[in-house]
Subunit: 359 residues, 4 copies
């Protein structure tokens, strides 16, 4: 028999860490319960505005939403550049995954002068007929808000051009959004290789850089704003996680695999799951804890911290393990989800992982 | 101007998570300070007992110790199988990294009947002359304990054969270890692909399975015991982290690269950093928070939880981001560390990460 | 002005090599012409008998046949193990690539006792309803021979169980095959890492090992036999070639990508294109030049060279560059091929390759 | 018993291919004999002029020369950009591989204005003291020619600045080179992904582009010139070949591994073995059969074919299998080679390859 010596528990810091750990452990147990038994009654109405087709994270983000019974997707609109080609990409993506019932709207085809947008995933989209017609995204957004005032969460994961135009058109209606969850900005951490470690300071973030004026309008719109900046969204999809997804062989993971290969040009590239963090937040805010801040979008596309009343809830740090623990089984789940009556068969990650050790 | 609505902060769980996050954030700030300015006075005397040469994590663990001014390495002993070849591997590894002053001892060459140990990294070791002589590991361990009673942390990252033999030889001296930090066991989580997610139940863990009786003696020895089981040590070294290490071009990272290629047979394999967690814990216990438990090693090599007074502090969950945030810059640091007067030049991970975004 | 000294052209060997090169160069120019302008009149009627679903090369072989206007595919039959599941795999594969008009037949579900066949690509097949019905492969084969006596090339790229059964049933009809092109056997070279270099001697080759008696019957059947053994079929599909295929984004390459990921478990594995060599040979025999030999299948599944009259044309060496130069653009071609009126739009590999050099 | 039908051997082309194959097969048997039993008497005196440290192929080329008893290396000189840092790289490379006896000379530090050369492998070189002194490359080259008139093969695998300067200094001595084997130029094929397949037309090739005037002088020098252009040197070192090399664990392969990781930034990149083809040619010209041509270096760095008497022997096509069959075992050989008395223990590739098949 032995007693445990306390000589290693000297510092307040350590006790604090242990305490924090306990709380996290408890909350993660809750999280697990939630994931496996989602409250179908508590459906969150969402619209996703996305520049799917350029970087690869939009596909993972939309895929996550499709797999999530917590969310009722009223529609998906396309943003930035060739929004018609992006809409065609969505048409195929939704069809292959059994979600052709979700409306698709086409956003404003804006580009930066002299910097044409190249869609890495264009070949996927081009199998949809070029004469396919889509409703206007700004019209669609405003209509939906009018139909469901104060009920819609807008998940904005592309440049905010469509949002800016909707504010210009009808700011009063726009303000009847329940909230905006936005992937964008860079508070203390810029683009980097990891979700952790030291960093050079903030960078102009892509979604904001593309249309600075639109972003400024959104931050000043008065709609409750939840910001997922570079600080907390650079979670990587590395080799082991990609393997779990790409070998799953579901309609969704097959589509993600094909899009990934187009994006990576058939080589090994590591996706950063920026946009998927925003979608996850809309369901499970504990995956990216926020704090109130006052942010201003300056004319160089930086999101500057200012004194004064908060205008956003901002997530400054996430935890890759926790995020992937949610994201991975959800994405590979083979659950059948059609329309409002979605049932989700939870995949047993444990079985996936049942491998003999390498040594 | 807007005020932040509280309507999303409904649940106690969420508040708990936010609170936990804040504490973690504060403690991680302390951790960063510590890492960059280690207290050279507070050197921890350690001996490492390792089966380096089979799996690859031992090399990363020993490498981490070599880079850590918090640790004063009294010696490294080899465990299990061809302990002479393992000692030759260490001879080259320490020479190439400028640490030939660290004593190497050779442990008991035990194997499981009919299951010969194959050293994946044998070609690295074989460049050291086959007639090299090494002192006996059990003698070495007991001598060092007598020289430094109650001061030595024994980091046991191989099968515990040498420890069992030392207890048999002189249990009273063995009990004058300050503590044992042991990679071994499996409480609730068995071998798996990830450090997170659901799991099949516990497995017989390798270090304990190899020499069950030795492990049983260690768990009953009365020495303060800190256990890092499979539950918390399956942190992966994936493509991005490997790239940071292998392109660093320091003597240590070059040696790790060569050993990795031998282990992976030139293919892409993902190391699990089991043993490195034990070394990190010896310096920064907040990286793997422990709790008191009573564990019994049964005859099938399971580490069973029992009621009764605790006989170990056990870490059941770690955080990959936090661990790698410590491990990675430490490993790639080009700091010159010779003898007692080690100075560590911290590598700026931010500069490493200064890349243009992929989109 | 300078004259070219001849002092380096000393040996007969060198002159021979230069001469050989010139001839090869000329013939390869012809080959290129052929590839881009296939004679649609000269259609070769083929039936493929395949164990698709276990190793990955069958999928690449069938895919190559689908893309080849030189071939008129009368049907594809499945061999070995779960032939129904293999037929379902083909059903989806043909549907996704626009070839649902090609008949599928289900072979004999034989397995080696105690060695159940595992289909790595089962999840792909399982999306086809389990109650799908298929005609019997032996019936189908004999019927087709009767319909097209002396016109059919049977491309046998699985264990030869179905062939053996057809011989047992009606040897006279079977002999009315025009020829059999068979992937199987190992004359001087066994399984290895490369298509070149020294080798341990021959190995029992899989297709023959599975059903030795069936193979013996085929080699003694009297049908003109063209054998592609391990000696010449271990052409690898490495990273650059995989990238070209998987980023092409055609219906065929998307299907191949999904099947590859299932086979490789989401990791990096290098396919060996065994079976694709047999399909290529049926169109372009210069890609695997044969010589007459007398081969006997012994009871340990070796293909022994014997003296006596030749019973097979055997290809003992191929050239990876030449094979891939044919295989790669053919596979990634986006040409539309429906029924008899196939038109093939040749892909411009040069455009694919237009990259800036890495230095 | 069956007779072999000739009905498939219809075309002249096919017969030509079969004939070519037979000759190649015979010549390759000779080649194999050569490789395993090199004539030590027939030593070729060589000097290598290299821009090692930028692209990775120079390291593989120099490594191949070090492993080759057919070659007597009089010295290695560095070309282009930071020639001092390149010389330091060579100092470490030769030391680690046991070849410190080979003289190193430092070339002219020329760069293109505004285009500073970046050495990907600088960290490897920087461990050699910055004050290391090296003789002048132009002096060294001319001295060696005077010592060994008409005996030296100059293998030029960097921009030809040093050669141009030597011609300017003393054209008469320079002409006493036995020959120049030069990696450079692009006759019909430009930079591409593969060694085969269709191509866009020729490109300005790097070594010539860097110093066009020097190249023009070399092509007009009157020294017998053997040119290995982009047409025949784009042989790739893909995953399987890299694995064979990097897991070999010899001093040379360890050094190549470390240099590769610096070059690839720790990611997966595919080297193109441009320069290694030139070194191989100097020993085994059958690996890259040449033909006489008249080439002119124009002012845009193209190597234009002109009518008139030939000024070079040019290799327009090589065979990856044949090249790698020579290159791979030679590179991984663990033979001890010191000074003039090199003995080479041939590695058995067959044993390396003894793997169970994947299916």
């Amino acid at each position: 028999m032995m007693s445990i010596p306390l000589r290693d528990f000297r510092s307040v810091r350590l006790l604090a860490a242990v305490f924090a750990f306990c709380i996290l452990f408890i909350s993660s147990m809750f999280a697990q319960t939630d994931t496996s038994a989602p409250r179908s009654n508590a459906s969150e109405k969402i619209i996703i505005d996305t520049d799917i087709g350029t970087d690869i994270d939009d596909a993972f983000a939309v895929g996550l939403a499709l797999q999530s019974p917590e969310l009722k997707i009223l529609g998906i609109s396309t943003a930035w550049g060739d929004t018609h080609l992006r809409a065609r990409l969505l048409t195929r993506f939704l069809k292959e995954t059994g979600h052709s019932d979700i409306p698709i709207a086409m956003g404003i085809a804006k580009e930066r002068p002299g910097k044409p947008e190249i869609l890495s995933q264009a070949p996927y989209a081009e199998r949809v007929p070029a004469d396919q017609k889509y409703p206007n995204a700004v019209d669609f957004l405003l209509e939906q808000i009018r139909l469901h005032p104060s009920e819609i969460t807008l998940i904005a994961i592309g440049p905010e051009t469509n949002l800016g135009a909707a504010i210009d058109r009808d700011a009063a209606t726009f303000r009847k959004l329940k909230r905006i969850v936005l992937m964008g900005g860079s508070v203390y951490r810029g683009y980097g290789q990891f979700n952790y470690g030291k960093t050079h300071g903030p960078d102009p973030e892509w979604n904001i850089l593309c249309d600075i004026q639109a972003a400024q309008r959104v931050f000043a719109s008065g709609v409750p704003l939840y910001v997922m900046p570079l600080d907390s969204t650079q979670i990587k999809l590395q080799e082991l996680e990609r393997a779990e997804i790409f070998k799953a062989g579901t309609p969704l993971t097959d589509a993600l695999l094909v899009l990934y290969e187009l994006w990576s040009h058939g080589a090994t590239q590591t996706p950063t799951l920026f946009d998927a963090v925003a979608v996850a937040y809309a369901m499970h805010p504990e995956l990216c804890p926020t704090q109130p801040m006052r942010l201003r979008v300056d004319d160089q596309a930086y999101t500057r911290v200012e004194s004064g009343p908060a205008n956003a809830q901002v997530c400054l740090r996430s935890n890759s393990d926790q995020f992937l623990e949610f994201f991975l089984p959800r994405t590979v789940s083979s659950g059948v989800m059609a329309g409002a009556n979605r049932t989700l068969k939870t995949v047993n990650v444990a079985r996936i992982a049942e491998r003999t050790p390498t040594r």
